[in-house]
């Protein structure tokens, strides 16, 4: 099985240095545990993030050097078409670049691969050419999907924590460098939005009992049985749980 881990051009939120995001470190560890040939892939002006990903379990990586302002998606599409991996693992979105989370979706659309979001586990499927994927849903629920290869997945923060960074592994790993000239590729479309320095905006305060329709009920000194009835009725009326057999 051929696996490619996508590494974004993320930056550290404080120092602004190139840094691997936690989700991509989790993706690298997950891919290393999955086995088969695992390669990292990054399109951007520097390979620092890739070097860090090698320390989290990737043996080899491809670095497509492009200029800073160039859209990385066409270069990634060309590379992935040639490499034809079975599984592509990506983080949710970049941190410190565009931060839209659209790149995996654009790749999946261009490569005609199914995309599964919020994945916490990947293991080889029972049949050949299939993979079993565990997807995180709300309220601790999970969905287990058996998917035909090839597939593109994005990682959820509840995936297993990344294996610790190993400096020797990062030094040992090899990065294949390829320079992509910007002339052959269309540059990123001009955005209709104006960019300006960030101003923090406060979030809405979470009010106690907002959206609660009923009035407050206070029962003074009920019998325990009556109290129990009322508690269960409250839970069922508000749709928290169902207790009938």
């Amino acid at each position: 099985m051929k696996t490619v881990v996508l590494v974004s051009g993320a930056r550290h939120p404080v120092s602004r240095r190139p840094a691997l995001t936690r989700l991509e470190a989790q993706a690298a560890s997950l891919a290393a545990k999955l086995g088969g040939t695992v390669r990292g892939l990054h399109a951007g002006p520097s390979d620092d993030q890739l070097r860090e990903a090698l320390g989290h379990g990737l043996g080899e990586a491809d670095w497509l050097e492009i200029e800073d302002r160039v859209d990385p998606v066409p270069a990634l599409i060309d590379h992935l078409k040639a490499a034809a991996p079975d599984i592509v693992i990506a983080g949710r979105r970049g941190e410190g670049t565009g931060d839209t989370g659209l790149v995996p979706y654009a790749l999946a659309e261009a490569l005609d691969m199914p995309i599964i979001a919020d994945v916490v586990g990947v293991s080889p499927g029972a049949g050949s050419g299939t993979v079993s994927i565990e997807q995180a849903l709300k309220k601790g629920a999970r969905r287990r999907l058996v998917v035909q290869l090839p597939v593109l997945v994005t990682i959820h923060p509840l995936a297993p924590p990344p294996s610790p960074f190993a400096f020797a592994a990062a030094r040992r790993g090899t990065i294949r460098h390829e320079r992509i000239e910007a002339t052959g590729l269309p540059t990123a479309k001009p955005s209709p939005f104006v960019e300006r320095p960030y101003r923090a905006r406060p979030k809405m305060m979470r009010q106690a009992g907002a959206g609660q329709a009923g009035e407050k009920a206070v029962l003074v000194g009920p019998t325990p049985e009556e109290a129990a009835e009322r508690i269960l009725a409250f839970l069922e009326d508000n749709g928290i749980r169902r207790y009938s057999a």
Binding site: T100, A141, F193, L235, N238
Partner: protein, 406 residues
Amino acid sequence: MSRPRIDPRAARASHLVSTAGALRPRLDLGRTGPVSPTGRPRRDPRREMAVSRVSSDGRPRFDRSHQGSFEGLAPSNKTVVSPAPAAPKLRIVAEPAFLVFAIMEAPGGRLTRFDRQLLGAAHRLVGSSGEGAVAAIAFSPIADLGTAGADRSLIVEADGASASGRARLLRGLVESFAPRHVLFAEEGESADLARRLSVSMGEPILTDVEHLGPRQAIRATKGRMAEEVGEPPRLMTLGEDRAAPYGGETCGARTLAFSEEAAPIESDDAILSDEFIPGDPARLTLSETDFVVSAGNGVTDFDHFRKLAAALKGTPGASRVVCDAGLMPREAQVGASGTVLAGDCYLALGIAGAPQHLQGIAACEHVIAVNTDLHAAMIERAGLSIIQDAQLVMPALLKLLEERGS
């Protein structure tokens, strides 16, 4: 300044009761009349006292707070007729000039806080002119859409459909209704759906919007070093707690008609099997769960408590006192120094509600308190308060749950 003189003879004459043929003139001094030449009615202190008297028997009690006129007030037996509450006004948009879609997630058919915020943001985009309409789009039936702010509702039963199937369905809806904006929640399946739709339609999307008004939308970019500002585009995902929920008149929530052929639900060929595994509340962490059953100093029997938490299908939690005493693990601690909950419901057994503890449950929508102290802070916070010993209520709850067979 001179006042007209009082004519005592005229005043006396006005009190005169006509008793024809009587020997002596009879006077009724209690009678008020236009006595004063100034035209000012005369005060009757006895009547005022009688009006302000509250209790009719026993020790007299007076309510002097009434500062209005006493004229024409009977001492009691006058009932105040309050005006009948007017029927709530209904916002009806008969012929909307444009639509704004809000994609609801609503697990279990109930709107979440985030869903309500989305509808509120959609109303900001529509404006108060009454031209446009907010349409709530959902994949399972939802109650209370009108009060939450949906002028139109479109429920497509596609609960079992895959994400790509839903995205294709939504694309069909967007192409047939041509809404001016489509709003998604930047969370879970909605965020996934928004990006699928954006890529398949080739339409730009503004993700994780932090400020949304009718004229501009703002999102953070470059790791919160810069922000993008511009006219609200067609597709947007809104960050959580970035818009106030709708608080205006109840909306019509009329059903939008659409043909099934325009938006067929297709299955995904690549997905061979799909198995849903519900979360086990006993093994979930406090920050992930939706229902926490928590014990405080009023609980002494912790075996009973753990059994109850399991029977209620809730995640066990505890207050700081209990965790300090080693009766519950530190991971179970709720509050400022433990876990700040994001769940829907909190059942507090024997917890008085220290400020640090209340901070931990600030986001909970429903709170039930069982406590012996009527004046505890937790009772103030709770939607349902039971003034009873938690140690007595726990076995009664367990027994009732056993009877119901769950």
